[in-house]
Symmetry: C2
Subunit: 207 residues, 2 copies
DNA sequence: AAAAGTTATTGATCTAAATCAATAAAAAAA
DNA sequence: TTTTTTTATTGATTTAGATCAATAACTTTT
């Protein structure tokens, strides 16, 4: 993945958000981004540092989690072809509270805080994209909230299977458990129950 | 509360977000807002309708809640001098899923969706305010999320008392319970425990 | 292929909060 | 004031999921 290719992917992403994005705004944006690569397992952010970037993930998979008395509580996966940031830290310029690391070798394209603020102020188009992204993040978070308040663990698991189809096969089950807010044991039981419901697994042994 | 007064309150609010807000953008904004009054108990939004406004609450108190098999689950209070919207519905222009009603007689200043989009496109300053508001809402929601995942009910109650001091005295306790995600019985017990901790309530009866 | 290290399953027990039920206290209406 | 309605407390029971513990199934390394 070279810079050309990465930029072209991001450009189509931005054009989807804002079809009439001006060439000038795009060019200024493109000038300022930098490419960053992480090996599988590498830490991207850890508590104490400020998240200074919004990233577009060109390839790979990131995940964020809280470490609460020795236990990981995963709050987000960020897959290829989506953007990622510890947005709370980025916006407030306060230290992150979560770890973020790479679950696979990952290539991202970053824009840093100062450059982005400059683009926001200079180009109405960039400002608009910033608004649209913040709005989308808000909606996503609202939905996740809703799931946690009103869907039981089973339903959250079902939804995860549907909505994160492309991630399911790439991560161990205990990470899914963490993300949907249950212990690995509980998820295992949910799966056992599911398999009794439909006749997939239990079959007569003899004759 | 007349239009003049209301607008002046909103103007200072917006200037706090964006100190160099242009007079022109402000004037165009001011032209387009409308004032709306609700009696105590009046329904502002109910499931099925689209939320077409972002409101600034000049006086009064609103609250939003889901109705889940006959039970209210409160997700937000919006007090005097803050803005309010069923933002998910507003942004997506899809029907709201929550009820919103007035807990007190309330006066709000509304801007509607189409007018706001127009302002966004025409005035970079408006766009910027829109971004900042979306970002703030995201941060607020992140924090509420964090509280629900990592703070127990006791701590959520403590935080509510601190952070919503001005609301506490104005609403019944069962609404606080609902907002912090427990039953009224559970909150009553939390309070009983608190009162044993410090020696405020239990005193010797005779002599 | 064997060994070591992960990850997943299954069972037994524990626990925080929900639910159910009754009463008490406070507020509003008569 | 008395009555009625709303709100809060307290106790008993239930329950979903956590925790603890052991084993089994996979993976990876050697």
């Amino acid at each position: 993945m070279n810079r050309e290719d990465a930029l072209s992917i991001i450009k189509s992403f931005l054009l989807e958000l804002l079809p009439d994005l001006s060439e000038e705004a795009w060019n200024e944006f493109a000038k300022r981004v930098i490419i960053h690569k992480y090996k599988k397992g590498e830490v991207v952010y850890k508590p104490g540092v400020v998240c200074n970037y919004v990233s577009y993930i060109c390839s790979g998979l990131l995940r964020s989690y809280f470490l609460i008395d020795g236990k990981e509580v995963i709050t987000a996966f960020a897959d290829t072809n989506s953007y990622f940031s510890d947005y709370e830290s980025f916006l407030t310029q306060q230290p992150v509270r979560m770890y973020t690391d790479a679950l696979e070798d990952t290539v991202v394209v970053d824009i840093d805080y100062n450059n982005l603020q400059e683009l926001y102020s200079t180009y109405h188009d960039c400002e608009k994209i910033g608004r649209l992204i913040a709005e989308n993040l808000f909606i996503e978070l609202s939905n996740r909230n809703y799931d946690f308040q009103f869907d039981g663990p089973e339903k959250r698991y079902e939804k995860f299977l549907e909505q994160c189809e492309s991630i399911v096969q790439r991560i161990p089950q205990y990470m899914i458990a963490s993300y949907i807010g249950v212990t690995p044991e509980a998820l295992s039981r949910i799966r056992a129950r599911r398999n009794n419901g439909n006749g997939n697994v239990l079959v007569d042994q003899d004759q």
